[in-house]
Amino acid sequence: MTAWQPGLPSKMNTERYFLRSLGASDATETYISWWDDEEVQLGLGNPPRGWGRAEAEGHIAKFDNRTRFHLGIFPNQTSVPIGFIAIFLGQAGCAKTNIVIGNKEYWGEGVVLEVRGRVLKFLFDGLQMHKVFGEVDGRNFASIYNYKAQGFTCEGVLREKLLAPDGTRHDQLSFGLLREEWRESQVVNEPATKPS
């Protein structure tokens, strides 16, 4: 993240995308629709929220750009986000991330690996975080692939923790990546270029 100042909107770039802090004006119909989309919400392990504009604006307002970031993902040269990444800086140098690609035309385009790769650099190199982790629905096989492809380790299975919209129970998986593991992977490999 270039010249990040705590409390101020943030921006960072990848090869194909840029990320910037979302504000109240970003609570568009498109953004709101992601929160009511069953497939999209599977990525967060949540059922559809049924939010309106007020709920969406309230959600965005919770992110302070100090310890909580809500960054829209925008293809370069565009002003319409295709998803977002949320970052939560926790105690003991541990950070949690969630990525949602709301625009399904971008599924399978490698967005998650490219965007999270940039965020990992920010968290590990920039903020010297010790660990980054994320939680995923055990039936979200695409997301699980992305964690594994990026070197995360499945550290735990919370059995039948999630209740899917169809009434079935799903396991929740916790994936973690340590700073040293990430640094070693940066030495061994070029940044991930495989599509995700």
Binding site: F141, A142, I144, V157, D171
Partner: protein
Amino acid sequence: MNATPADTSQARELLAQVLNISVDELEPDAAIDRTERWDSLAHLNLILALETHLGRPLDTTTMLEIESLTDIANLLAR
């Protein structure tokens, strides 16, 4: 458990199908970290295809083990 040749053939067919390539194009050491077409959507389709083939959902532990053609063959041989 090692896969039998028949199981490997079945695994190759299944993986080639989800990667949308011919069986002949599939490298014998195909794996999640070295096969270009094995991306997130392919992985999703692979797990679903395995579940359809086996007629049951994969438990989480088994699903997490699927990272290579060999893993698929071993699963089908169980």
